[in-house]
């Protein structure tokens, strides 16, 4: 802690936010928000997609400047013009959108801005590696500090970003959906670190769409809706229903019925599929009308499998069949032609065309259907866009808004919707509800279920076990690039799945 003598009021609120307002063209992202963070608390921020959580956090971390309002820490009003000021004032942030330096090593990524130096500029390489290893050790993470970041999987990158924030030795840490790509074990390690930070008096502003995390790690919770603060509660006093209702502003019935449709014959059959460095000798099939779940730890190779099936990183050996036709899938074009669609986990890299409008992004994979003689039929495009925006609840300042300015969850909906528009017969979903709010998530679950009951085959990869267990008809577990178990989701438990996924 930086100062020893504090008045009671300062102890009450370590970080004090008053009247914070921020508007973007076409939307008031934050509207007169007050918030008090106590020292040593984990304060959870929740709200629907586009409620303003990230905006609030960016303001706290100096990434954006407020239109009005002020932030004070320990009684001192902060004037932050850029993140550098925030870091100097002891505020660190884990960003919702990953911010990797792909060409630099893990160690450099973690200690960027904090490099151990001699003579003021000379980088102490040994110190750098040791420092990075130390932080990674706290997260119980086995990534080598010397690897290039570009070689890591998305989840590993997210861990590195967490490590980067931890390395800054801040007493306020802002965490914007830090666990969106992580599976249970990594989340557990992170939570341990958070508790440790708490012990040392650090304040944490945390957001996530995974409700169970709110209850597990939070002390108090604030609900944002449409840029305004709705309520702040002690977590122990709050119930899930209450929070969800505050978020969406109405009663919400979560889709939970498991209208199981067991498949009518195999749709996609995979035989002895291998890719060097990814997975080995996989054989499985997805039946029409069935949701096949894939569970596994970080780096188990699930993403590699769906990427191979979609032709992004084609398999080296093995067979892929749709119905009884054997296919060669060398590129996504092949896959789409054969009715395979993929929603990638990496929406930033493989999903969005940032400067293009919501409309153009939606129709990108199936533009042929909305054009005549080579000319795009804008009217038809707008119609289908309006439909999708409505059915998925995509929140934007109009169809023409560049998708870069949408909130993270809304971007995810755009990517998902694009693949639905190609009307696939096999849908590969890699973390499809990453960053999507509770209400929308339940609607998307309903949608996936409906698609399956219409006869689609769905291959679902998710790091959220509850989601997998609730949605899948069958569940496969991967470990180190191999299939190790097939389970019946109705007769298994999270513990059993984890047991198979982990090394014994």
């Amino acid at each position: 802690m930086r100062s020893d003598v504090r008045t009671t009021e300062e102890v009450e609120s370590f970080l004090r936010i008053r009247g914070l307002t921020k508007a973007f063209p076409g939307v008031r992202a934050l509207d007169d928000v007050d918030l008090d963070l106590k020292p040593g608390e984990v304060h959870v921020l929740i709200g629907e997609n586009g409620a303003g959580k990230s905006t609030l956090m960016k303001l706290v971390a100096g990434l954006e400047c407020p239109d009005s309002g002020e932030i004070s820490k320990q009684g001192r009003v902060l004037r932050m013009r850029n993140p550098h000021d925030a870091i100097r004032l002891g505020i660190a942030m884990i960003h919702q959108e990953l911010m990797p330096f792909r060409q630099m090593t893990v160690a450099e990524n973690i200690l960027i801005g904090q490099e151990p130096v001699q003579f003021g500029v000379w980088i102490d390489r040994k110190g750098l590696l040791q420092g990075a290893a130390r932080v990674l050790g706290r997260l119980k993470c086995a990534i080598s500090p010397e690897r290039l970041l570009g070689e890591l999987s998305l989840a590993e990158m997210q861990l590195v970003e967490i490590a980067r924030a931890l390395a800054q030795d801040a007493d306020v840490i802002v965490m914007d959906e830090p666990t969106s790509s992580l599976s249970k074990t990594e989340v557990a390690a992170l939570f341990e670190v958070i508790r440790d930070l708490q012990q040392r008096g650090a304040t944490i502003l945390y957001t996530s769409h995974k409700m169970e995390e709110v209850f597990e790690i939070g002390d108090r919770v604030t609900v944002l809706r449409d840029g305004r603060r709705v309520t702040t509660l002690k977590v122990d006093d709050a119930s899930e229903e209450e929070l969800i209702q505050a978020m969406v502003g109405r009663e919400l019935t979560l889709v939970s019925s498991r209208a199981k449709g067991r498949g009518a014959g195999p749709l996609l059959t995979v035989h002895n599929l291998s890719r060097k460095g990814g997975f080995e000798k996989l054989s499985f099939q997805v039946n029409a009308g069935e949701i096949l779940g894939f569970a596994g730890l970080m780096g188990a190779g699930r993403t590699a499998v769906v990427n191979a099936l979609f032709g992004l990183e084609p398999a080296d050996r093995g067979e892929i069949q749709i119905g009884d036709r054997r296919l060669r899938i060398r590129c996504p074009q092949d896959a789409i032609r054969h009715g395979i669609g993929l929603v990638s986990e990496d929406r930033r890299r493989l999903g969005l065309v940032p400067q293009m409008s919501v409309r153009s992004n939606l129709t990108l994979a199936n533009l042929k259907a909305y054009s005549r003689r080579g000319f795009v039929d804008v009217a038809a495009e707008s119609r289908i866009t309006a439909e999708q925006v409505h059915s998925l609840g995509i929140k934007s300042a109009g169809q023409e808004q560049p998708v870069a300015f949408l909130s993270g969850g809304n971007q995810q909906k755009v990517v998902l919707s694009r693949m639905l528009l190609i009307c696939p017969s096999v849908l590969l979903l890699d973390e499809p509800t990453r960053g999507i709010d509770v209400g929308a998530k339940s609607e998307i679950h309903g949608l996936i279920r409906k698609l399956a009951s219409d006869g689609l085959g769905v291959l679902l990869v998710s790091s959220e076990l509850p989601e997998l267990l609730a949605l899948s008809d069958r569940l496969l577990v991967m470990r180190n690039g191999r299939l190790v178990a097939e389970l019946d989701p109705e007769r298994t438990s999270q513990e059993e799945v984890m047991g198979h996924a982990m090394l014994r």
């Binding site: 996504p332 074009q333 999903g351 400067q355 990108l364 080579g374 795009v376 804008v378 694009r418």
Partner: protein
């Protein structure tokens, strides 16, 4: 309001800065010299920008995909020499000379595109290679001497006019209009923006990135061929050393007009405004009889100033 209109309005407003800068500059020039704002002079400005305009429209395709084409100037020389070889009086019909020139240009572009996409060599290097290769070919083909004695039905393409409007200006108008419609309204046009905006995402959406990029380079080369023909017709000779550094002016026009060098952003309207700004500046400074040393200084300052002004407006 119709769906498309709002966006077009927004686009116009975001373009406003450059348009405003252009209007201010033109206003200033009209005050400073009485010869600027005459119909005749404005037509001359249009004629003077026509070659750079055609090239700039072409390079916009490539820039939108996130690439670059440095070979334009040399391709202009090569196609000019080649087309001129088919344009001596009484040998072949003029249309053949034109076709040969455009084909030679798109051939160069196609080669660029194929090496960029299949060979995965950086566009800068590929087109830099083409810059020297095409120049060398132009010199070899012509033996280092200008190809002159061109038929008047060929040179009319550079010097003639239809109902008072110079033919090069008409060509530019047709090229620019067609390109605008192609880029904004057709499927391949949309794909060009998508590939430039995020190549990996475009690939993952099933777009044939290779074909889209190759197309952009080929079109760009073809338009450079057209520019080469117009230039040869205008100066009534195919010059193997013509067009040096023309690529820089063409890219500058596109970038001044808001097309991003990293791809995915920009368009033909901006490119034309950029070419116009450069043309007005060249013409105006000549009319004002600014000494050639100072012309360079003033030109540099005004271009940077106009783009800065434009940028400021957008934020």
């Amino acid at each position: 309001m119709q769906p498309g209109q709002a966006s077009r309005l927004a686009e116009w407003i975001s373009r406003y800065g450059l348009l405003l800068a252009l209007v201010l500059l033109a206003g200033l020039l009209s005050c400073l010299t009485p010869n600027f704002a005459t119909a005749q002079n404005l037509l001359i400005v249009l004629r003077q920008i026509s070659i750079n305009g055609i090239l700039a429209v072409g390079v916009t395709y490539v820039l939108l995909t996130g690439g670059v084409d440095l070979s334009l100037g040399s391709v202009v020389a090569l196609t000019g020499v080649v087309a001129a070889g088919f344009a001596h009086p009484g040998e072949y019909p003029v249309i053949l000379a034109v076709l040969v020139g455009i084909l030679a240009g798109s051939g160069c572009g196609l080669v660029n595109g194929l090496i960029v996409t299949r060979g995965k060599v950086a566009p800068f290097i590929v087109t830099l290679g083409m810059l020297t290769v095409a120049r060398g070919l132009a010199l070899v083909v012509s033996g280092g001497r200008p190809v002159s004695n061109l038929s008047s039905s060929f040179t009319v393409l550079g010097g003639g006019a239809i109902i008072g409007i110079p033919i090069p200006v008409l060509i530019l108008c047709v090229v620019a209009f067609a390109s605008h419609v192609f880029l904004k309204r057709t499927r391949p046009g949309r794909y060009i923006y998508a590939v430039g905006g995020n190549e990996a995402a475009a690939y993952a959406s099933g777009i044939n990135v290779t074909a889209v990029k190759t197309l952009a380079y080929a079109v760009c080369g073809g338009l450079a061929g057209l520019a080469g023909i117009v230039l040869a017709a205008r100066i009534t000779t195919g010059q193997p050393n013509a067009g040096i550094a023309y690529e820089l002016d063409a890219i500058a026009a596109a970038v001044i007009g808001g097309t991003s060098l990293s791809g995915g952003v920009g368009g033909i309207v901006g490119t034309l405004l950029g070419a116009l700004l450069m043309g007005v500046l060249n013409n105006g400074l000549d009319l004002m009889n600014v000494s050639s040393y100072w012309q360079q200084i003033v030109k540099g300052l005004i271009i940077v100033g106009a783009v800065w002004f434009d940028q400021k407006g957008r934020r």
